[in-house]
Each structure stands twice: as structure tokens, then as C-alpha cells.
Point group: C2
Chain length 206, copies 2
Amino acid sequence: MARPLTPLISIDAVVTAALELIDESGDFSLPKLAKRIGVSQSSIYNHVSGREEILELVRGRLLEESPLVVAADAGWEDVLREAIRVYRGSFARHPRTAPLMVMQTVRDPQAIALYERIAGALEAAGFEGADVASAIAMIDSFALGSALDLAAPGSVWEAAQGSSPALGRAVESAARLGSRADAAFEFGLEILIDGLRLRHERANHI
Amino acid sequence: MARPLTPLISIDAVVTAALELIDESGDFSLPKLAKRIGVSQSSIYNHVSGREEILELVRGRLLEESPLVVAADAGWEDVLREAIRVYRGSFARHPRTAPLMVMQTVRDPQAIALYERIAGALEAAGFEGADVASAIAMIDSFALGSALDLAAPGSVWEAAQGSSPALGRAVESAARLGSRADAAFEFGLEILIDGLRLRHERANHI
DNA sequence: ACCTGAACACCGTTCAAGT
DNA sequence: ACCTGAACACCGTTCAAGT
């Protein structure tokens, strides 16, 4: 077969197939992607520049599924809280995407817009230049880390044996808790917001 | 050549070569590792079970280089602060190892000991079961995320263009700051400790 | 016990050839 | 413009063969 009358591949189909493969196995490869779409491996390069672009398109797909909505008059804490929830939530529905995004430069416009929203909220709150950057870096670390926690449940905990009593007790409690990762995230989110508010109040001598 | 009188490979040499390759290129492969040691690819499997074990040995090497020292009577905040600094610092000297550790189960005894120390400090402070687990998960997220920030400087920031004014300003300030990642880490560390202390005080009605 | 070379089943990307 | 098949330069792991 050569060029068909109507294209066999759409970018949408590529992204869907990639996401399916990641959800199922934690990874995807061009050969498997091609097989799933029912097309040859090399033909994918007619629609997409390569593996990296496919991953960035997957990122976009994740964010499409969970838009950020906050009231126009919401305080900076609420904007932050919701933005972080959206960011982490977009990974939560497809946890195994998180590790693959780790070293990938963010280019997706919706992701950039989310960061811009956070930066804007911090500026409006009165945080200054470098502190805005630091706060975003911290938020980013936290959200990504929490997403990774979903993808690798018990990565650390698994190793806790008799020689680690305190760690062992923590594991046990967490297991009883059911959804450890979710609880850890909400716990961490409040800690983070509290910490930022405290610093904010100090800086403004409230 | 067959079996030599004195072994051509030591585990130490494997770890050293792997770490060198990671520092130089951000990754390592068995073929390159073998070439660097001056040995055949397959012979490495006589000393090590495979790629995963090599990575875990690298983790151990990193922690050996930065032991945790805290005064015996140190408060839980100080233990936490120092443990997090050690964890993150062990990656800071070899930033490009961080992404490779992301999805790897922690088995190195020194790493486990570090987690145990943190769990013990949180317990002693009066945090309860599930909260200890949540706090550790958060600390873990934060430390790993900060380490990743070192490996991928400007991963997000790069994309900030005219359409993202607040993000742009944050980037600019951070650039002027010089070592953005270090500043972000110390900023985040204080936020985190403050947040935990606040929750701790509330729980204990201080 | 420790090394070698060959083999196996995978990768991502390129490119000439087809229509 | 869009697809194919072959080719290239890589992977990690296994295994029979050597001493």
C-alpha cells in the first residue's frame, strides 16, 4: 500500500493508542504503537516528529480532561490549591504517565498556562520575584512527586522490614488507611499552603 | 581469554564506571560500561544481576559520600531538616542520577536507614501512624523533586514566552539569582518545616 | 569462578520507493 | 501527502564454550 485516499493515521489516534499502552504497561514503544493502530512503524513519522512529541501530546491530553476552575474572587491560597490539584489530578487518572514525563521539557500550552496561573496568583499575593520562582519549583516538585507516588505505590515502603521499626509502623498505618497516596497528597497540600501562608504573613507583618 | 588469575572486574569498578557515565551523559548502558572497564559486556553478569542492581549500588555510593550527622538531643525539626538535606544533597553532587532513580524500588540499606531516621523523628514528635506515612511521602516527593530540578534546570521555565508574563518575570528573577535550584530547595524546606510545625502545634493545642 | 563471543528479542529513527 | 519495507545503530540478557 502507498498513500491511501483518506489518511490511516490521525494524531488523535496516535495519542490515544500511546495513552492506552502507558496505562496498560507503564510504557510505550513505536513498534507497539504502530501495531495497535494497524500501521507501519515508520508511517507515524509522517504525523509526529518522534517519541518526545508523542509524550508531550499525551501531556496535553491529560490536562484537557481536567480543566482548572476557580472563582474569579478566589484568594491566592484557593487558586494554588486548585491548580496543584488539577496538575496532580491529571496524572492521578493515568498514574503511569508520570515517570515518563519526569525528564521531558514542558511544551504543552495548557501546562504552561497552568504554571502561569500559579505564578500570577503568587505575584498577586505579594510574593516577590525569586520567591515566586522558588515557590513554583517547590509546588512543581510536590505535585510531580505525589503523582510518582501514585505510579509507584510502596516503592520505599516495600523495603521496610524488622530492622526499621518506625518505618514499619508507618507502613502498617498507611496500609490500613487504604488510599495512602491520596491521603499523603492532601496532607502535604495543606502543609504546603500553611507554610506559604505563614511566610506570607511574616513578610507582610500581619 | 577465559578465567584470569585475578578478577578483571570488581563491583566497585562497575559502580564507579556507571556513575562516571551518568555524570557525563545522564545515562549508562551495559555496552558502554563494559567498554569503559575494558571487559566484555556479558562478563558483568558474573558480578551483578543486571542493570537494576547496578543502579541500586549507585544509590548506595551516593549516600556513602554524605553521612547524616545530627546532635543526639536535636529536635525533630533539625533531624528532619538534616535528613532531607542529606537525601537531596546526595543527588545534588550527581544530579543526573536522580531521573534514573525515579521508578526504582529503594533497596539500599543506607537509604532505608535514612527513612527510618525520619520516621523515628516524626513519631517522637508525636505525629501519629498514618500522618507519619503521609509526611514521609511528602518529604520524599519534595526531596526527589528538588533533585530532579537540579538535573533538569529550566525544564518548565524554558517554555515561558511573551504569553506568560508572570511566569516570565519569575524566570527572570530566578536567573538573576544564580543558583535557582538551591534557593528553591532551601525556600521549600523552610516552608515544609513551618507547615509541619504548625500542624504539630495545632494537634498538641500549644 | 570468571571471561568471551554469538545470539535473541527488543528499541528509535532514517530513507528510498511507491502511489 | 502519506504509506511501506529495509536498514542502521543502538539496547539488556542469556548461554554454550573456554580455562
